[in-house]
């Protein structure tokens, strides 16, 4: 059972697989985000209360979801890196941090732009907004910690620890609107039973979300590839790969 796991964890195998499949993720994300934008900004009807201002949901909610699921993925990679000492998992932790931080910042910024016209204020210190800001600091902490180490493996171990401890914040962000009073409204889509959004508005939202997920996967795969190349630059497989590329006229 573990053979595929170990084979995937070997840098040359991973590099070739990522090379083959990541362009498909890029195409998928373009298609899904394309439909999501057209569907969300033109085809979906305006909201009965918020009018056209609600359309910012098509950026805000996918970004917020990715900020949380990205963190869970980073923490899972950190656990694998700490327990199995797999170098590739260390690269994944470091690769997810900047992408996740970008989505978190996007969620915070679009949320502020939405809050001003609807709530009447850009920012309030309620549980949801504050815990999402803490999530951004956790991502930035992983990024900064990684930079602070000369030795990439020592840096990755420290980052892994921080990523692992910080995962406690993920359920806090998600359930903050249920556990405590907040100005932020409750969850719309993840409610079990019926989502509290009309179907004509929901499809573009789901399309945007899966499109952003594909983009996230593509960006992380590419970053991991670069990181693997850099770390293994003295190994024979990188030299062989470079030879192949040269022969094919790519370099």
């Amino acid at each position: 059972m573990w053979t595929w796991f170990h084979r995937l964890a070997s840098p040359p195998t991973f590099y070739r697989l990522a090379d083959r499949y990541s362009p498909w993720l890029a195409v998928l994300s373009l298609l899904l985000i394309g439909y999501g934008l057209v569907g969300g900004l033109w085809l979906a009807p305006p909201d009965y209360q918020q009018g056209d201002a609600f359309r910012i949901i098509y950026v805000h909610v996918p970004a917020a979801w990715l900020s949380l699921s990205g963190y869970v993925a980073m923490a899972a990679a950190a656990a694998v890196a700490i327990i199995w000492r797999i170098k590739l998992a260390e690269c994944v932790v470091v690769a997810i941090a900047p992408v996740g931080a970008s989505f978190t910042a996007l969620a915070l910024i679009t949320g502020m732009l939405w809050g001003k016209p609807m709530w009447g204020k850009y920012w309030v210190w309620d549980a949801r907004l504050t815990s999402e800001l803490v999530l951004l600091f956790l991502y930035l902490g992983v990024l900064g910690l990684n930079r602070a180490f000369e030795d990439p493996r020592a840096g990755a171990r420290a980052c892994g620890l921080l990523a692992l401890v910080g995962v406690v914040n993920v359920p806090i962000v998600h359930y903050s609107v249920e556990w405590w009073n907040s100005l932020h409204q409750g969850s719309t889509v993840s409610r079990i039973g019926k989502p509290a959004i009309a179907a004509s508005m929901l499809w573009p939202l789901l399309s945007m979300t899966f499109g952003c997920m594909a983009f996230f996967g593509w960006a992380v795969l590419r970053r991991v590839q670069n990181d693997v190349l850099l770390r293994e630059r003295r190994s024979t497989w990188v030299a062989a790969l470079l030879g192949e590329r040269k022969a094919a006229g790519h370099v």
Binding site: W84, P117, M118, L164, S182, I197
Partner: protein, 164 residues
């Protein structure tokens, strides 16, 4: 136990410990995590007196009276209690009867709340206007359940909603 297994246990213990610390910490700080008090908290004297507090609830239908200039008075209700609110200033676009709002101000000795800031707290429902028209009389368009009492005083979703 191999080294790998001991690392596995170590990661598990670390996660469990952090989660336990978070649960205990947030249990102790529940009141501080609340963004606003509810009319139920004011009635139960759970909110600080003569201090600036935030009060959240639904604007009761039929209670909105516009006075001179920008002055408005209305009743704010959660699932169990209500309180009368006075406010002079600009209201958010979403302010209307039946809407959830959060008002910042102080409770006077007469039991009325004087607010100096009103923010709209919209709910998680999104629908086209035609669909909303059809639901006009239906229950649950605006729900008092998101307005939770800080000390868990009765404010269950089953209680009759005064604001509907």
């Amino acid at each position: 136990m191999t080294k790998r297994q001991s690392r596995m246990v170590w990661v598990g213990v670390l996660l469990g410990g952090v989660a336990l610390a978070a649960v205990l910490g947030f249990k102790a700080l529940r009141e501080n995590m609340m963004y606003f008090y509810t009319p139920t908290d004011l009635a139960a004297n759970d909110a600080p007196r003569n201090a600036r507090v935030r009060l959240g609830g639904l604007v009761e239908r039929g209670s909105l009276v516009r006075g001179e200039g920008l002055l408005v008075t209305f009743t704010l209700a959660d699932c169990a209690q209500k309180v009368s609110v006075r406010y002079e200033g600009i209201l958010p676009d979403l302010f209307r009867e039946g809407q959830g709002i959060v008002a910042t101000g102080a409770l006077g000795d007469d039991g009325a709340f004087t607010a100096d800031e009103v923010l709209a707290k919209h709910d998680e429902n999104y629908m086209p206007p035609e669909l909303a028209e059809g639901l006009k009389s239906a229950d649950g368009r605006h729900n008092c359940a998101p307005f939770k009492s800080v000390n868990g005083n009765l404010a269950s979703a089953d209680a009759p909603a005064l604001a509907r």
